[in-house]
Symmetry: C2
Subunit: 217 residues, 2 copies
């Protein structure tokens, strides 16, 4: 059965959900929330437990909270690890990617250059060396844990793609393991298909920021 | 085997980990990190993947990222749900309690009154009616999902206890289901034992805030 994702017409907090559905090979369509009345309607229908997007309608469930939704689809796609130790490591590293990624979520909403300058001073020097080292210790196979794709990989993929696009690929040069990881990820068929599809939204721009603010305020 | 929690001498991000260990009946001791050299030693020993606390040493693992650690112990205590639907609902509601709770984490660090005033205007009117309603729909049995204790309950317990202590029990009066929930939680033997033990830290005060800042800076 296919899923329906309701979110603004951008990446934001829905991107990890999209990546997890794509990697788990769950087909989905998108409803872009571009007008306030659409958002209000979802709330009135009781589909948003905490009044927030993203929402995924799937098999009668109203899935909210992006990390829970990502874990739900990751479980379906067997992306949470094969044993207790892998499960633990994947959960910890995924949470780390969320902290890392959170610095980029306000891109455009708290300035464009400001957000990137802040990221360059804080999260990039903090997290990239750690993930580079973990990738190396895991055997330079392009995965953070074990020898196959996991939710932790999807988390790092999201933020690596963001860095590559917003700051340029040179930003990743000091981290060859992360560069190799990104190459491996991009060669994954399900991920490659998603990234070149219309489902992949564009980076935040002024128009998008204004649209989100109009829906929310 | 018993666990060792390393954290500052307060509740902070470790509290949900303590609650999950207590509820899962995993014995633990605590090392209070009150001096910079203790924190630096843990980093040098490679025990903090992302250079952050809390850390739990348990069965040879260095558990970090508080939500992952809480889930790990919740799994051991069978607190993550009995079937796929329960697991999903518990994960979503737990994430909601984390968003709710995050407004109280800066208590003392971003002012005392300021943090509470902000919570009264934002998260309390947003989340308490939702959890009150979920508790009612679940049969007013003092649990958010199903008929037994879950990680979602522990998440709501943490924030309800905080509200009761910092804002007074009257703050919960408009939410009788939450009041009943809190009563049920406090009558849980494992939780009651923890709350009256020395393991339960005190609320943030100026001394604690200064101590944490000294360790971190």
């Amino acid at each position: 059965m296919s899923a329906t994702l309701h979110y603004f017409n951008g990446r934001g907090k829905a991107e990890i959900v999209r990546l997890s559905m794509a990697a788990a090979k769950v087909e989905f369509s998108q409803v872009d929330i571009t007008e306030k009345h659409q958002f209000e309607a979802l709330k009135t229908e009781g589909k948003l437990v905490f009044g927030q997007l993203p929402l995924v309608e799937y098999e009668g469930n109203n899935l909210v909270q992006s990390c829970s939704t990502a874990r739900y689809f990751a479980a379906k796609g067997d992306l949470l690890g094969s044993n207790e130790q892998e499960k633990l490591n994947i959960d910890i590293l995924f949470e780390g990617t969320r902290d890392f990624n959170s610095a980029f979520i306000p891109y455009g909403f708290a300035g464009f250059k400001e957000v990137l300058d802040n990221a360059k001073q804080t999260v990039i020097p903090k997290y990239l060396p750690v993930f580079n080292s973990i990738l190396s210790k895991n055997g330079s196979n392009g995965h953070l844990v074990g020898s196959k794709l996991s939710l932790a990989d999807l988390g790092l993929l999201e933020v690596s793609l963001t860095i590559e696009e917003l700051l340029g690929e040179d930003e990743l040069k000091p981290y060859p393991e992360v560069q190799n990881f990104l190459k491996v990820m991009k060669s994954n068929e399900a991920i490659a298909n998603y990234l070149r599809s219309d489902l992949r939204k564009k980076k935040n721009d002024e128009r998008y920021v204004a649209e989100v603010q109009r829906v929310l305020n």
